[in-house]
Symmetry: C2
Subunit: 681 residues, 2 copies
């Protein structure tokens, strides 16, 4: 049998070794072998750092986002090839789409986040400028810079496409090269993904390497032995492997970032209001069956513990049994099959062993762990297993500790809200939980009570059911991971996952220094005032610090009264002297805040047609000193941040606006947001 | 000699054991002993979880912030007692203030952050609502909830007051009980701090426990053995101890959060522009001497590697020698002494050993490691050491790897910007670095080049010098920690340090469910419209969802022309039909954005005097659809978040404002911020 090739140091390498076999989950036939003999692991890490990292960091966030989008498009074009191979992992077409399309969706989500939320140039800033001194000469800004190492991505066997892409996307966007290590049983599918990624020719050399086999090569050593302070490891898999990898001496000696996402004993909680006949009861049953059967229950987020009010336990068991009876197990490509095989025979044995332990505290109420009727395949040669529903006692330790990583869940009755919150915690940390209820008070108590133990919690009810993505689906915008048994890690979560690949540093200095370093004008820095109004400058010519000063303009009583009449804003503080005098902040009549910003616009605007296309918003407007009659207002508007849009003829300009009164006291501070045309547009 | 008492399970306990001795750093006399024999570590952890945690979580962020403030006040009143004991650790009065006042400052900073930035009730929300569906029935919100375990805080000997308070403040504000473990050499000073905290009677029972000795008690076991998924460990100390603790089998088995802050080979970089005679040259020399001598150089942030342009190396060495010659070493309470003792004789031996290793790659150019003239004390009995300046080669491995944790630094010449960035990285991860230059371009290159290796970077120049807090001072608002050798951890950083004590969870559901769970009105949720205008309601009576709908109001050409004339905002898009037609977003003349929000205010305001006191700002205003002539505007204003201020007669109300046109298309979305009086005010 042929050994899968690895893509390392810019080329495909096929080890000359016997390797470990991979089998077709449906037929049991050997598909190929895995080996990394002869691969120099130190060189692989070094190549990522020396070639991939600099190439990625050479690109902007927006450029990297564009490449992710292009890659997503390429994979979408070739997804049928991935679906075809998926079937050999035991996956139905639905399962394959979940895996393949889900992975492509993560690439697209990160592409979009990168373009929308990350800066066109300069470092990514975390939070606002931090004032550190009274005189304003000393302040700080937190910045994110990409780690200068490699991201070693150790994947699980259950999502051979989504898993690697979910780890690759944030790393790539951050500017950190990836080394993809697939899990043995389904490595042949991840190899197909790697083949497509390389064949696309889209990504810079060294940005992605693929190790089709163990991280330890008899001749090349252990990759972990070669990791350094700027590398990171993100692991998905079993809690026991996570534990072993986490304590690798090199990781602890060099404080290498390690994040783990381990399967966990996730729970789904039925609310007491959701009695039979309610939409929530049906949603609960339907979701439980889905979670048991999608990917044959091989999902680290799947429901293992189904907590239901004691009074409803019989009804839930009955309803779930009824649905499970409709499940057709078999060859995933055979007509009518709704649940495929487990990833392999070893995995099936493991599930059966776990089921035996579970049966200490629970009884089987549906399915036979030892046999199942199979459509279109041989039940013994393929890794087929019946869905198995158990019913257990809340006091059983096994129910809360033993995970059967297959189409298996246990219904557990609970007596009170307090009890079910405690039962959820007995899972010792979960990736995902769900509460199915139409009662907001119950949802609030359970969600806030169980949140410390969960990375994600879903409240499912009749309102969101139709659009809900369900208990088991991690979303790129949301954190994926959980405390304790779930690994203690966090992935994705939108930009949070990008930040996990970067170093956050506090940079202290004078305003001018921070402006120079961040590329964003920092209040207190030098302003550039010239004869040319900055609204006359195209995006390319505008520089942070370009400033226009307008005013002074006197605000009269007549102005205020007129504005009140014109807009209808007759709030007492503007018109009623007696009431205004009693106001704790004003003491006398004052101008409208909206009048102040309207006058300010009149003072800073350069009216003739030009590169400024629109004012699309205002941020962080604060009224700081009341404007009294006959106060004279001066506005200073300074270009703060200039963000070209890659695929548009314009970009965004964020202006710092400061209005002061005749005493120089700040009246209003805000950011004005405009769209400004590029020069050649 | 007496054994120090621990404060555990709500009472002071004095172990009946011989214990480990602590010595006066100045005289060498024994001060007392440390032991934890007989203390049941499982019970200590359990007490924190069972008594301290629930008591803390019962309080709001604002209440916990008030307690931190009160504690700061109490400690400030008693700070002379802490100064007095500090002298016995070898600290000068200046050192003691750095430690004691710095620690009190951290408490105050967190008190202020808690009141200003954290919600008055409900969970702390992370980021915005995340839309997850087209129809808007399914969305998500990340929330932070406090971990339900204990924070085990393992402190270093160099900051016996600041260290524990820097760890306590964010934990306490998060709602997580602390177990304080002092470092042996200076535990007697931390014990004094613990005595004051307990004597203050301010903090809830179980919120702070103090273990005056080892975490392993011969009869009580190892505290780490009893940690669980919801606990966390924050360690400050040596890199080697960090490595050992990090791999504790219970920590890895249960994915207990572990953060380490280890001393590191921090560098300070002199810019090529900063030649002798420039203010930056003098600042560099002055700062280096300060960092070498404050706390006798026992600061994990102190400068160990002084990188200077090769051409300036002689001049820097000469200038630093000159300043070091003025340092007076001795009994910290003796007249004229400017540098005290190291924490103990063991520490001095350790520094001398490190100096021997350093001398492989560097030569001593100031000071004698073996002897020093001492004022007011015995040079051999007290842990005194001369400041030692070395001059080393950039190629010397020892210079980048060996840390002498005392008044020791090495001047290293560099040839180019690229080289100095690489040299900085050879420290393998640092807490703090500094660049002393007046050249913004050099600062930018060096800061962004070295940021991946640093938790904090200071740019020092003539502008910020006067207000700068200096290279070695961690600030509560800024992250403290660094990658690799510096431990890979992160502490403080303002609210970031609070988040490190909480679980971040993504909560998915319908808008109404998310509103109920977060206590904040989520767009898409039910609105409450009654005959009573919400501006008539006092803060106590207002509820998220309370809504007023105003309009429709037609916007006419005359309105726009009048507004342009009145405000002076004659931007072409409002007045010039031809130019507006050419605008890519408008195609015809449109109304001013400021006119839209002014009219909107006219539509939602209830003008009569009442509980609404002021509109203090607007957030996230976005203009979404241009307003054309004769469009009719309707505004919907909904109370979104209601935040009483603890010590004021009013609170803040954040309103969701949405303006739509006659087609129902969104014209503008924003948050209106008002101050609203409490009922009994």
């Amino acid at each position: 049998m042929s050994v899968l090739s690895s893509h390392v140091l810019g080329e495909w390498v096929t080890p000359d070794a016997e390797g470990r076999p991979m089998s077709d989950a449906v037929t049991g036939e050997e598909i190929g072998r895995l080996a990394t003999e002869g691969i120099d692991m130190a060189a692989v890490a070094g190549y990522g750092r020396r070639v991939g990292g600099p190439a990625l960091r050479e690109l902007s966030f927006h450029q990297r986002a564009s490449l992710l989008k292009a890659l997503a498009g390429y994979l979408r074009e070739h997804r049928e090839e991935l679906y075809a191979v998926s079937a050999r992992t035991g996956a139905t077409t639905g399962d394959a789409k979940f895996d393949v399309d889900g992975g492509i969706g993560v690439l697209l989500a990160y592409a979009s986040l990168g373009k929308r939320e990350l800066p066109a140039s300069g470092p990514w800033l975390d939070g606002d400028v931090v004032p550190l001194s009274k005189g304003g000469t000393f302040l700080a800004q937190h910045v994110y810079t990409p780690l200068q190492g490699v991201a070693v991505q150790v994947n699980a066997y259950n999502f051979p496409v989504w898993g690697p892409l979910e780890k690759l996307a944030p790393a790539f966007l951050a500017g950190v090269p990836s080394i993809i290590k697939p899990a043995t049983p389904t490595a042949f599918l991840t190899a197909e993904l790697a083949r497509l990624i390389v064949a696309s020719g889209l990504l810079p050399d060294g940005a992605v390497q693929f190790l089709a086999g163990s991280l330890t090569s008899s001749s090349g050593g252990d990759l972990f032995d070669h990791l350094t302070e700027q590398d990171l490891v993100s692991f998905t898999g079993s809690a026991s492997t996570a534990r072993r990898l986490r304590t690798h001496p090199v990781l602890s000696a060099r404080a290498v970032r390690f994040t783990a996402e381990a399967d966990s004993l996730n729970c789904s909680i039925l609310g007491p209001d959701a009695t039979p006949g309610t939409p929530e009861f049906d949603l609960y049953v339907g979701q439980l069956v889905t979670e048991m059967t999608v990917k044959a229950g091989q999902k680290c987020t799947a429901i293992r513990r189904a907590f239901v009010p004691a009074a409803q336990a019989d009804a839930v068991v009955e309803a779930v049994r009824e649905e499970l009876a409709k499940v057709i197990v078999g060859d995933p490509v055979a007509e009518g099959v709704t649940m495929g095989a487990l990833a392999g025979l070893e995995q099936r044995e493991e599930v059966r062993r776990s089921l035996k332990s579970l049966m200490d505290g629970a009884e089987v109420v549906f399915g036979d762990p030892e046999q199942v009727e199979v459509t279109g395949a041989d039940a013994q040669r393929g890794a087929f297993l019946s869905p198995v529903l158990l019913r257990g006692s809340p006091d059983s330790a096994a129910v809360h500790e033993v995970e059967a990583f297959g189409p298996v869940a246990t219904v557990v009755p609970y007596a009170s809200t307090g009890e079910v919150v405690e039962l959820a915690a007995r899972g010792q940390g979960s990736l995902a939980g769900s509460v199915v209820t139409a009662d907001p008070e119950f949802a609030r108590e359970v969600v806030l009570g169980t949140a410390p133990w969960h990375g994600r919690l879903l409240v499912l009810d009749r309102t969101d059911a139709k659009e809900s993505t369900g208990h088991g689906s991690p979303m790129p915008q949301l954190v994926h991971g959980g405390p304790g048994r779930a690994g203690g890690g966090e992935e994705m979560g939108g930009l949070r996952g990008v930040a996990h690949h970067m170093q956050r540093s506090a940079v202290q200095g004078s305003p001018d220094m921070l402006s120079a370093i961040t590329g964003r004008w920092v209040p207190g820095s030098a302003r550039t005032v010239t004869d040319e109004h900055p609204f006359r400058k195209h995006l390319d010519d505008l520089r942070p610090g370009d400033t226009v000063v307008g005013g002074p303009r006197r605000v009269t009583e007549a102005d205020v009264e007129h504005f009140a009449e014109f807009t209808g804003d007759t709030f007492y503080a503007h018109l009623d002297a007696e009431a205004a005098a009693a106001n704790p902040f004003f003491g006398e009549r004052v101008a409208h805040g909206y009048l102040v910003v309207s006058f300010a616009a009149g003072l800073f605007v350069d009216p003739a047609p030009g590169p400024v296309l629109a004012n699309f918003g205002v941020d962080n407007l604060r009224f700081l000193t009341p404007v009294r009659f006959d106060d004279e207002l001066t506005i200073t508007l300074t270009a703060k941040q200039i963000s070209p849009r890659a695929s548009a003829a314009y970009g965004e300009v964020r202006w710092d606006a400061e209005v002061v009164n005749g005493d120089g006291a700040p009246v209003a501070k805000y950011d004005v947001l405009t769209l400004v045309a590029k020069r050649d547009a």
